[in-house]
Amino acid sequence: MIKFRNVTKFYPPDTYAVKGVNLHIKDGEFVSIIGQSGSGKTTLIRLLIGEEKVTGGNIIVGGWDISNIRKGEVPILRRQIGVIFQDYKLLPNKNIFENIAFALEVCGFTDKKIKVMVPQILKVVNLLGKADKYPRQLSGGEQQRVGIARALIHRPKILVADEPTGNLDLANSRDIIELLQKINQLGTTVLLVTHDREVVNLLKRRVVVLDRGEIVSDQKVGRYVI
């Protein structure tokens, strides 16, 4: 599904954010990428969603080499990869329904389709009763679930979660991880970037460790070892 082949990202004058990364993520896998701050985790994600371009190597997503992706093709890639962030990135002046609908509106879906699709995804993240609430009226865990719903609304094959539990307490973090596992079980490949020890140990899934832009460990069933 996702292949990083000898991927390097260099920032002049002398910084390698990612250096010679080789990583193969299969369809339907759940992979945690861990590492300390500045280890290159976020750069790897930015390269994967076309936010940055590689300095060297190739990134292949579903058979598509996106290493030198053209500007006009980035939106096509983004509809295939759902992304969630630590700060949720919800629009405060829109309610929950509108926040999710917005992702469909800007991609040209009809109002009729939106009215059918949004409740379906709200049901998946267990927020059907809160469609008319605004982000400020929800807990951090609920806001992150809205973020997940929005990321999944295009039914992407890949879900990238960049520190999704960073702002949450343990109980809410567990809820989010359980939700990500449920999504993974339904067939979506999940890439979790975190430095939350509890979360990684709870998952008992593949763990890739990054250090100074390089992969230093890749275990099928890993634990948080930094």
Partner: protein, 304 residues
């Protein structure tokens, strides 16, 4: 027209309202620019009308010697009519001229008294010649001055309106220059203010834009609301400026009518006759200006 366009239009209107005061200032400057353009148009139309009326008044009056046979006068009239530069020739008999003179001076007893004293018609038969173009009069005068014609002509009178025409042209040219300079200044201010308005819009919508990019909105869809917003500024400005113009015209028209009674010029009529052309041209120019200005602002501040 599809869903995306109407959505972008909705976002544009939303943004227009969100930065209402900035939108208002932008539209106001555009209106000022448009009003100065319209003053320029009015001046042009007015001076063109005055010049054409003055030109219309230019003619050559040929006064015939007394006791010349009617056949000779008719012959001269025929030969004048045959000339390609002549538009029309009117024969005015001395009787008709006298009647006209009396009618003109009916309220002036002294002149009427003087006429009675003379006791005979002092006026002459005449031919009034109008040329097709103001430039043709010299040719006609040369023809009139030919020896064979001068034998029956007492004198001719060419009212030279060229000085008036050139004066009208001069004044209108000066007024146009001032108006053009004012238009240019307002246009530059308008471009800058639209640029700034779009920059502020990009800033206020930065979160939305970030989410749009994240969920895979195309670059053109992200840009479209900003472009439409600048077009909305233009359309509002054109409509409001025409509203203001018609209001001003209806207020000043009675005075203008009195001033230009001899020129039969009516601004409202002029605008009504040319409304489609004027609206399209002005809206087109404002929209092009707005779109260019916002496109530069987007290129600079919207990284998509």
């Amino acid at each position: 027209m599809n869903y995306s366009f109407f959505r972008a239009l909705r976002y544009a209107f939303k943004d227009f309202g969100r930065n209402f005061w900035l939108s208002l200032v932008t539209i106001t400057v555009l209106i000022l620019a448009l009003l100065s353009v319209n003053i320029l148009i009015c001046l042009n139309a007015l001076s063109a009308r005055i010049v054409s009326v003055v030109k219309e008044k230019v003619d050559i009056s040929i006064f015939i010697k007394p006791d010349v046979e009617q056949a000779k006068i008719a012959n001269l009239e025929e030969r004048l009519k045959k000339r390609p530069e002549v538009k029309e020739v009117v024969f005015v008999s001395k009787e008709a001229a006298l009647a006209d003179f009396k009618e003109k001076h009916k309220d002036d007893p002294k002149i009427l008294e003087a006429l009675k004293e003379i006791d005979k018609n002092p006026l002459a038969d005449s031919l009034i010649v109008k040329a097709k173009s103001i430039d043709d009069y010299n040719n006609i005068l040369s023809f009139v001055n030919l020896e064979e014609n001068q034998q029956i002509i007492k004198y001719q009178n060419y009212t030279d309106h060229e000085k008036i025409i050139s004066r009208v042209n001069e004044i209108s040219k000066k007024a146009e220059e001032v108006s053009l300079a004012v238009t240019l200044v307002f246009s530059i201010i308008a471009v800058l203010i639209i640029f700034n308005a779009i920059r502020v819009s990009v800033y206020t919508r930065r979160e939305e834009v970030a989410v749009m990019r994240l969920v895979g909105a195309s670059s053109s869809f992200i840009r479209l609301p900003f472009i439409l917003e600048s077009i909305i500024y233009g359309v509002f400005a054109v409509l409001i400026s025409f509203g203001i113009l018609y209001l001003c015209f209806s207020l000043i028209n009675p005075y203008l009518d009195a001033m230009l009674a001899n020129y039969s010029f009516n601004l409202i009529q002029y605008y009504n006759q040319n409304i489609v052309l004027l609206l399209c041209a002005e809206a087109g120019a404002v929209i092009v200006l707005s779109v260019l200005s916002s496109a530069v602002a987007l290129g600079r501040y919207l990284r998509v």
